[in-house]
């Protein structure tokens, strides 16, 4: 932690040098001075992006104690849903309190010297020069681009006012920082396009918007100093410059945070927040168990996909995971470590426990408070790992034939869905999949019987017969749709919208490339991040007509009418 903080400080010091050289630009000309710009997207940052930004810019010891606005999942991802969200007044109030708390901590006596980089002539009075330097430096890091001159001036003015009223330079500076943290330019990612000099009449994302896309895709955070420099210099518009940055970022240790953020979104781990279970049915369920489960899943994924640079498909079959004491109790395996320690653990070859589907996260999130749910689990396997969402159920379902469920296993009950024509279409896709996970209860504990009847975990999916969770894991491992789905979701996550028809050829090529790369995720990041499609400009629908003669750059020329929202 300490090391990371020091590194950030070093980055900031050099960022100051770089950014203070960048002259302020007049408001309304934010892209680059004297070139017209078009705002092409405004995307609210997620909770984890906010947290990473604050930790990266102000240090990991800044505590954030507030409730974030909830995200919304669309196309399977919060990254897409959040692109369509704004800030409600209740949320604004929360961020407002949080901004003050961050400013108080970042500029307290302990941190201020390392952070501010200049000293006021009189610590009891306003100092416009030092304030300007501070606002330019941190404003650029927070806004992901240099500030307009008027943006700087507004903050310098309130800092001055505050310093006078409070008789303290730093109290004034806190107000300026507060105001930066509340600005829409920080709370939203504002993507802008500019005329493309290589393709007259077309637009391209400006360098800073490209830098943000890359940084949020790979690191789930703001562009760092080096990336902002590459944006300012135009390097990101060259293939070699772009690839150099991609190589640097994917080899950075910070990629772990990016991979964790992506999989937290993909696997819907936000559903662990506030997850509750019936206490009498599941006495082992606790907040510590939930927190441990999240950590297990993310640690294992980072270990497999980043540290070992392994094959993505192995996450479905890998028997090695990380456990701590609360998880050992749920998995019913011995644990010799201390209460805070983690250990690598490999389930025996004859165990049904293999891969991400058999972890407590998946098994407990997609279940009921007091029982498992083969339907939910099946639906989520299809949705998350195969990009096959299930349509909404029909409203007028006739369950009158349903038998009492206090006896036998859930398989009996679900058979009704399969014979009922209104339900069969979807349940035939979900239930056989979910039923293979039935040897795990609503929090993921192993079991072999339900109501005294042995649980049957055999399945027949389109003529392919398999057995249990390990059979399902192997099936997914061997299904080419699974890695293709991952590639699609990484792309969607990065661009913040669902892929559209024009993306199909590109996605097919990426899926093939992913296979050629041995299904390595870092290579996938590089492949997607270096493609023109990743930076494609989609001109949003305007209230007023767009200027004539403007075409859209990139592979297709689709306006937002073609964007599926």
């Amino acid at each position: 932690m300490r090391k990371r903080w020091l590194r950030t400080a070093v980055i900031l010091a050099s960022a100051a040098t770089m950014l203070s050289a960048a002259p302020g630009v007049p408001a309304g000309k934010r892209a680059t001075a004297n070139t017209p710009h078009t705002t092409v997207a405004i995307r609210r940052i997620t909770e984890s992006q906010y947290r990473h930004a604050i930790a990266d810019i102000f240090g990991p010891d800044i505590r954030l104690n507030a409730r974030f606005e909830p995200g919304k999942r669309e196309g399977g991802l919060l990254a897409i849903g959040n692109s369509n969200l704004s800030l409600t007044s209740g949320g604004f109030e929360q961020y407002f309190a949080m901004a003050r708390s961050i400013a108080d901590q970042a500029l307290d006596a302990k941190h201020r010297d390392a952070l501010v980089g200049c000293r006021p002539a009189d610590p009891k009075a306003a100092d416009a020069a030092c304030t300007t330097q501070f606002v330019q430096k941190y404003g650029a890091l927070l806004f992901r681009r240099p500030l307009a001159r008027s943006d700087v001036a507004a903050r310098v003015a309130i800092a001055g006012k505050g310093a006078v009223q409070k008789g303290d330079f730093y109290e004034g500076l806190k107000l300026a920082l507060d105001s930066l943290l509340m600005a829409p330019e920080f709370l939203f990612r504002i993507e802008q396009a500019e005329p493309d000099p290589d393709h007259p009449g077309q637009l391209r994302l400006d360098g800073y918007s490209k830098a943000s896309r890359l940084s949020y895709l790979i690191l789930d955070s703001e562009p760092d100093e080096e990336l902002l420099r590459a944006a300012a210099s135009g390097e990101l518009h060259t293939q070699a410059g772009l690839e150099r940055q991609l190589a640097r970022m994917t080899e950075s240790p910070r990629v772990e945070a990016g991979v964790k953020a992506f999989f937290s979104d993909l696997l819907q781990l936000d559903q662990l927040d506030g997850l509750t279970k019936d206490a009498s049915t599941y006495p082992k369920f606790s907040q510590a168990m939930v927190d441990s489960a999240r950590e297990e899943t993310l640690r294992t994924l980072v270990d497999d996909l980043v540290t070992r640079d392994g094959d993505y498909r192995d996450i479905f079959t890998n028997r090695t995971t990380y456990i701590n004491r609360p998880l050992a109790a749920v998995y019913n395996v011995p644990f010799l470590g201390g209460s805070d320690s983690w250990t690598r653990y490999t389930f025996p070859g004859d165990s049904d426990r293999a891969g991400v589907l058999t972890e407590v996260t998946f098994l407990s999130m997609f279940a009921h408070p007091g029982r498992s749910s083969p339907t939910r689990r099946g639906v989520k396997v299809n949705e998350i790992f195969l990009c096959r969402p299930t349509p909404d159920p029909p409203p007028n379902v006739d369950f009158s034939k349903v038998q009492a469920t206090e006896n036998g296993t859930v398989r009996t009950r679900l058979l009704d869905h399969m014979t009922n024509p209104g339900c069969a279409g979807c349940h035939r896709l979900s239930d056989p999949v979910g039923l293979t996970l039935e040897r795990f209860d609503g929090i993921g504990q192993s079991r072999t019987a339900e109501n005294g009847v042995p649980i049957d975990v055999s399945a027949d999916l389109g003529g392919r017969k398999f057995n249990g969770a390990s059979g399902l894991g192997q099936l997914l491992h061997d299904d080419p749709r699974a890695p293709a789905c991952l590639a699609q979701q990484v792309y969607a996550y990065g661009i913040g919208r669902e892929p559209m028809q024009a993306d199909e050829g590109f996605l097919a090529a990426v899926a093939k490339g992913f296979a050629d790369d041995g299904y390595r995720i870092k290579a996938l990041y590089r492949r997607i991040g270096s493609s023109p499609e990743f930076f494609r400009v989609v001109i949003p629908e305007k209230s007023k007509p767009t200027a004539p003669g403007q075409k859209v750059a990139g592979a297709g020329s689709h306006r937002s009418a073609g964007v599926s929202r």
Binding site: S280, G370, F399
Partner: protein, 448 residues
């Protein structure tokens, strides 16, 4: 329990260490001759709230547990409405109203309340066709308070159906403690405190926001329509925060019914019905004081969400699951366990209204000066019916509501009830809804 207690101990809200919330009549000396307003000239405001519960109530061809058999003022309380019996004279029950979909799909556990709140059946789940009407009411009457509206979700789920855009929904408080801290933590100013003085730091907090507002024009230039809506909402939220700060700079009007309640204990997380109802009751008490202390005039409650996950503790099936799985009892004509749960869910509404009614204010109670519109997502949940969705308007609306009636409709649009609630609350709204659910015809029987 300490047998000695007086007004002061009640004001502190503590008797023998146990939390209580007992309404005390405002002393007559505070009131003017008509009893409608306080002697200092402050008129008692009308408050407005929505109260949602998931999974409807039981009404089938063979079995009816909620629709009163009689209409008009002498209606009868059926079993599932029994928790409302203590406030029967202060509620109107509406039956037989439905969602008219105009060819839109029945999005289960969504189309019902989306229509009631936004006036049209939505095309897609997760979105409404426009703003929910509580925001319109809040804009009309929610002025002069620290919060324009407060949202709570006693089941602990981050669920609210209040939206200004049809897309971003409000973030509710999910625990009594969080609600307490929001209301009575930092920024709270006791309206009855004798030593009020403005906090000069508030002016500095205002300047933080004004620096952002100055940049608005540059930001709004050349954005797409969807992005413009997002920025508009952002700046609306900013303005509401500015208003809230401005209010904190003014000396608050005295509120005799305001008693700062004791800090609630954290409570047990969980969504079994006993826990949800316990949280709901605690939050109702806090919300009553939020209203009495003039912290807000508008609130939204989601007792349990549309596909309600609540359950009877120890039972391995959720309410929602039961409405799907449970066989219909041939003799009764409905699903017995699901119907039992529906009755337990209604205890939450009974508790909520009772808590508002327990706070004396002016010549009546807080409930008399409120309009609470309660409704569900569906009629009979087993079939996800959009017909006969139970709707109730509670509270006297400061004399505007001719309460204590049952109004039975033969399939008119739910939006008529929504429009009625808006007008009772004092919002200047003459028309509500769109397409086949567009109406300018409130239910005049219940309007004085």
């Amino acid at each position: 329990m300490n047998p000695r207690f007086d007004r002061r101990s009640l004001m502190r809200g503590l008797i023998g260490g146990a939390a209580v919330c007992v309404g005390i009549p405002a002393l007559d000396i505070f009131l003017d001759n008509h009893g409608k307003a306080y002697a200092n000239g402050v008129k008692l405001p009308t408050r407005f709230g929505t109260y949602f519960w998931g999974l409807g109530l039981t009404n089938t061809a063979e079995g009816n547990l909620w629709v009163p058999t009689k209409t008009g003022p002498d209606f009868d309380i059926m079993p599932q409405l029994a928790p409302l019996a203590p406030v029967k004279s202060k509620i109107s029950v509406f039956s037989g109203f439905r969602v008219i979909g105009d060819g839109r799909p029945n999005l289960v556990h969504w189309s019902g309340h989306a229509s009631i709140l936004a006036g049209a059946a939505p095309q897609n789940a997760n979105n409404f066709e426009g703003p929910s009407f509580d925001t319109v009411v809040a804009d009309a009457i929610g002025t002069g308070t620290r919060f324009k509206a407060l949202d709570i979700s006693p089941s602990g789920k981050t669920t609210s159906y209040s939206t200004r855009t049809g897309n971003s929904f409000a973030t509710p408080e999910t625990t009594p403690l969080a609600l307490y801290m929001r209301l009575f933590g930092e920024g709270f100013q006791d309206p009855n405190s004798p030593n009020w003085k403005p906090d000069p730091d508030i002016i500095l907090r205002q300047s933080v926001l004004s620096a952002i507002t100055e940049q608005r024009k540059a930001l709004m230039a050349d954005v797409g329509r969807a992005d413009q809506i997002k920025l508009d909402q952002y700046f609306t939220s900013l303005r509401e925060t500015e208003n809230s700060l401005a209010i904190q700079l003014q000396k608050p009007e005295k509120r005799e019914a305001c008693m700062i309640p004791p800090k609630p204990y954290a409570g047990k997380p969980g969504i079994s019905i006993d826990l949800v109802n316990a949280n709901n009751r605690q939050m109702a008490r806090l919300m009553a004081m939020a209203l009495a202390c003039n912290q807000t005039k508008v609130f939204n409650v989601v007792h349990t969400s549309g596909p309600s996950e609540t359950y009877i503790a120890g039972d391995d099936k959720t309410y929602h699951q039961r409405t799907h799985d449970e066989p219909t009892d041939a003799k009764l004509g409905y699903q017995p366990m699901s119907s039992k749960l529906a009755g337990m869910v209604m205890v939450g509404l009974g508790d909520f209204l009772t808590e508002l009614d327990a706070v004396k204010e002016g010549d009546g109670t807080l409930l008399d000066h409120s309009v609470v519109m309660a409704f569900s997502d569906t009629g009979y949940a087993k079939i996800h019916s959009l017909e006969n969705i139970p709707m109730i308007i509670a509270g006297g609306a400061s004399g505007r509501h001719k309460a204590g009636q049952h109004v039975a409709s033969k399939g008119e649009a739910v939006t008529r009830v929504s429009l009625t609630a808006q007008q009772l609350a004092g919002a200047p709204v003459g028309e509500f809804g769109s397409g086949a659910m567009k109406t300018s015809n409130p239910i005049s029987e219940v309007m004085a």
